[in-house]
């Protein structure tokens, strides 16, 4: 199991997104809000003439909103033919997974449990592997 992972920081915790799913990592400067949309959807942003749905990973996991001082980095992924920008607190390097994703006794805790595929060992220590599909579906859809 030597999958490449994009290491990032979500809600103050180390998390990883499978690098194969990530098209690019961008810095978001402008977001067009979408009134009426669920709160984990911050709005739309454009990347190379393409509209991306911006998802605040922290809210999508069921935590409170993100602080303003984050560097607004986002991983661009495609789910079901739609492109999303997953806004994370920080996006580090790409690292390698040193193990298969595994469950840990007692689960990962509220929020994480729903959108995590498991824990993987990496060079920086144990990291949660994010289930992008579940994250994009948002808290409501997952709970249902």
């Amino acid at each position: 199991m030597n999958d490449l992972l994009l290491m990032c920081l979500i809600a103050g915790r180390r998390a990883a997104i499978p690098a194969a799913l990530v098209q690019s990592v961008i810095e978001i400067d402008q977001i067009t809000p979408i009134p009426g949309a669920p709160d984990f959807i911050l709005g739309l942003t454009a990347m190379r003439s393409q509209a991306l749905t911006v998802i605040d990973c922290q809210i999508a996991l069921g935590f409170g909103g993100q602080e303003q001082d984050s560097d607004r980095r986002a991983a661009v992924v495609q789910v079901g033919g739609h492109s999303y920008a997953l806004l994370v607190e920080e996006a580090y390097d790409v690292g390698e997974a040193r193990s298969d994703p595994i469950e840990v006794p007692g689960g990962f805790g509220h929020g994480w449990q729903m959108a995590a595929r498991g824990m993987v060992e990496t060079d920086c220590g144990p990291t949660l592997l994010i289930d992008v599909d579940a994250l994009v579906a948002g808290p409501v859809a997952r709970a249902a």
Partner: protein
């Protein structure tokens, strides 16, 4: 050449080429089943396609070959070399005919019978023998020596082909991909343009960039055309459908097409195919009568189904009309009541047109009985939904005994739509242009805002329509904080013909936008239909108006509002009798007929002037008579006023609070105790006095005119007319015309004015200087006889309005 024909030629050619190898192989081994199938498919397709054109020879030939081959496939006949030769001769012949068709020439006639006869295994016709076994060269000879001398044309053929439009066939996926690529290219260009703008002047880049833009625009338009297809393609499949259906139902139907050359997006054509099929089914099943019934009602025995397409700007209108029995509005209404969709009371309020629109209600079928053709669980509601889904609309008009027409309006393409961009809360949104009826400013004179309960209404051109602020719809703005007069109103007409006003901060521009789908989580809001990028690269949402209207129950709301809608429906509206509830200055609840209420005003106490019996209020620089004071004292500070109008005069009525709009469905019990009250009615179980609108205006006389006033010419040269007569005439409600050419309602002339200037007028009032009339003069009026003059003016006015 006709596109459809070109397609046919290209397709046949293509099949010929593709099956060329098969033909050769089949020749070598007639028992090869796979080859046989290929050849069979070829002649079968040719035969099928011939059905759309007038090529009897071609059809006959391919039909004969198909029959023979079908026998082989069914095992009734052995595929021997004789048959192979005969079939190949026919295929060669078809190929020649195709060449002639493409060149627009008459194809060589004659010899066909011999070729067909050659297919017959027991044929022993001399001369045109089935070619000798295993000698395909002989077969070609059959063709070559046929009387028409097909081969003789071989010489000039290449030159001929050059003048013919060349066509190829492409997979649609490829077209879609190219189309998408070009759309993205346009967006990238816009992005680049923005960056160039930001970077300032760069003459060395701007020139080439402009060129790039021009080229891109051209490519985009040709790509769009590439996706277009003539409606003929759609029409071509309909005669068959109509024929099958009418046979099944024992009716005779003739089909008539118009506008087959109109082009539509290929995808759109596929999208409307099903709805169209449904409409045709309905028309033949329910619309058109059987032959006997038609003759009885004096119609031609054969029913007519007419399709007419027309392009108008960015829209295609397609009308499907039949000359059948029409839609029985009452029966439809009765069904709607029976199905529990509407109450009888609601039906009673409906206009005829509105009743016809019931056909689009879910769960309503006009069929007496479910037949094999219709009643398959899919109704016109689904048809409408499908049409709306592609951004179109559908309407129906019908005349009992004369027929029914469905009018479809379709956008040209699916992916690029004409949109109106509007602003709300600092963001831009796009609205499909096809829904936009009109744009008006909230501050214009002819726009009036009113409230009925929490529902905001706007009166525009005599219609009272619900009004919603976009910010309110999107949840980004509190409805209470909206400054309506500063808004721009986009009047939106839904496919169901319901109208509502969308108040936005401002309207930006008309743009062609490339619409991209949005993420499911956003789709779930029901507010947006897609997204698109602005020229500056920022994303913008496309509003989903049908869904918004649904969500805010505007379609339903409007059903009850319909009674205050167009003036021509006044007769129906009267039955509805909606009223506005308010509390008078004495704090008691009263009602006034809603038709009378033009708007609600709030003015300050200073703008009200009371002196003795004269009570007046000043609103927007105009003076109105003030009523309602008999019930109590005006409040200090701000006063609420209902502005009432009988269509001609306006008065204001002081109230302490406006409550709600309600329906007055019961009787009004007349009351003689209070002359200002028409009677008492029950609303929500409580008695409410209804103020007497008639009495109210009767007591006012000429308070203030609205609407078109009558016009009058005065003697031009007379000072007396200008100083004395003019104010009098104006007070009587006339506009004094200064245009000598204008034909006025009344012209006043002085008897002693000689020669009289001939003013064009419908009525002439002549004034004489003497109190006593001169001899032979029984019509003129003494110029100081105020009573007589006023009554003459009034008479002319009444005759005018009558």
């Amino acid at each position: 050449m006709d596109d459809l024909l070109a397609d046919f030629v290209a397709e046949t050619r293509e099949m010929l080429e593709a099956s060329g190898g098969e033909i050769v192989a089949w020749e070598a081994d007639p028992s090869d089943r796979a080859r046989l199938d290929t050849i069979f498919r070829f002649v079968h397709t040719v035969k099928g396609n011939c059905g759309f054109f007038d090529f009897p020879h071609l059809e006959k030939l391919s039909h004969a070959a198909e029959d023979a081959l079908a026998d082989c496939r069914a095992g009734r006949r052995e595929a021997d070399s004789t048959l192979v030769s005969a079939v190949l001769a026919i295929i060669d012949r078809i190929s020649e005919m195709i060449d002639s068709i493409e060149a627009g020439e008459d194809h060589p006639e004659g010899g066909d019978d011999a070729l067909i006869a050659a297919l017959n295994p027991h044929d022993d016709t001399p001369g045109m023998s089935p070619a000798e076994p295993h000698k395909p060269s002989e077969t070609t000879q059959v063709t070559a020596t046929s009387p028409a001398e097909g081969k003789a044309d071989a010489g000039p053929k290449p030159a001929r082909a050059a003048s013919v439009q060349r066509t190829i066939r492409l997979p649609t996926e490829l077209l879609d991909e190219v189309m998408k690529g070009v759309s993205d290219m346009v967006l990238a260009r816009n992005d680049l343009a923005r960056r160039l703008r930001d970077a300032g002047d760069h003459p060395e880049i701007d020139g080439p960039f402009d060129r790039l833009s021009t080229i891109l625009a051209e490519v985009r338009s040709s790509i769009t055309r590439m996706r277009m297809q003539r409606l003929e393609h759609l029409f071509s499949s309909l005669p068959r459908l109509v024929r099958d259906l009418s046979t099944e139902l024992g009716k005779q139907v003739m089909v008539d097409f118009e506008g087959g050359e109109v082009e539509l997006d290929r995808e759109m054509i596929e999208m409307v195919r099903d709805p169209l099929t449904h409409i045709i089914r309905n028309a033949i099943d329910h619309g058109l009568e059987g032959p006997g019934e038609r003759i009885k009602s004096g119609k031609h025995e054969i029913g007519l189904l007419k399709f007419a397409a027309r392009q108008s700007g960015n829209q295609i209108t397609l009308a499907i009309s039949d000359d059948g029995r029409g839609i029985d509005a009452d029966r439809l209404a009765a069904k709607a009541v029976a199905a529990g969709i509407y109450s009888q009371a609601e039906i009673d309020e409906m206009s005829e047109r509105r009743k016809h629109h019931l056909i689009f209600e879910p769960g309503l079928s006009t069929a007496e009985k479910v037949s094999s053709v219709s009643g398959r669980g899919v109704g016109m509601d689904v048809v409408r939904a499908n049409i709306e889904h592609v951004g179109g609309s559908i309407d129906v008009t019908t005349k009992p005994g004369e027929g029914t027409s469905f009018h479809l309006k379709l956008p040209l393409t699916l992916s690029i739509i004409a949109a109106l961009t509007v602003g709300s809360g600092g963001q831009r949104y796009a609205i499909p242009r096809s829904y936009v009826e009109e744009i008006v400013f909230g501050s214009s004179d002819h726009v009036d805002f009113a409230e009925a309960g929490d529902r905001r209404l706007v009166t525009f051109r005599g219609k009272r329509v619900p009004c919603l602020a976009l910010g309110e719809i999107l949840g980004s703005e509190d409805p209470g904080s909206v400054d309506w007069a500063s808004m721009t109103l986009v009047l939106v007409r839904m496919a169901s013909n319901d109208v509502f006003a969308l108040a936005v901060d401002r309207v930006y521009d008309h743009e062609d936008v490339v619409v991209k789908p949005i993420a499911p989580a956003i789709m779930e809001t029901g507010l947006y239909a897609g997204t698109t990028l602005l020229d500056d690269g920022r994303p913008m949402m496309l509003l989903d108006l049908p869904s918004i209207a649904q969500k805010h129950r505007l379609v339903d709301e409007m059903r009850s509002m319909a009674r205050t809608l167009p003036e021509e429906e006044q007769t129906e509206q009267r039955k509805a009798r909606p009223v506005m509830l308010f509390t008078g200055l004495d704090g008691r609840r009263r009602a006034v007929r809603l038709e009378l209420v033009r708007r609600i005003d709030t003015i300050s106490r200073e703008a009200i002037d009371i002196e003795g019996s004269r009570k007046q209020a000043v609103i927007d620089g105009a003076i109105f008579s003030l009523l309602g004071l008999e019930y109590g004292e005006l409040p200090e500070g701000r006063c609420r006023l209902l502005r009432l109008s009988d269509g001609e005069h306006e008065v204001v009525y002081a109230v302490s609070e406006v409550l709600d709009a309600a329906d007055m469905d019961g009787e009004i019990v007349p009351s003689s105790a209070d002359p200002a009250v028409e009677g008492v009615t029950l609303i929500g179980g409580e008695p409410v006095p209804v103020i007497d609108g008639h009495g109210l205006f009767a007591a006012q006389g000429t308070a203030r005119k609205t609407g078109r006033t009558a016009s009058c010419h005065l003697p031009a040269s007379s000072d007396w007319a200008r100083t004395i007569l003019e104010p009098l005439v104006e007070a009587a409600g006339y506009r004094v015309s200064t245009e000598p050419e204008e034909e006025t309602d009344v012209a006043i002339e002085l008897v002693d004015d000689d020669p009289r200037p001939a003013f064009p007028a419908r009525h002439i009032i002549r004034l004489r200087p003497e109190p006593e009339p001169a001899e032979n003069d029984d019509e003129s009026i003494y110029r100081y006889d105020r009573e007589a003059l006023l009554s003459a003016l009034k008479r002319a006015r009444v005759e005018k309005t009558a």
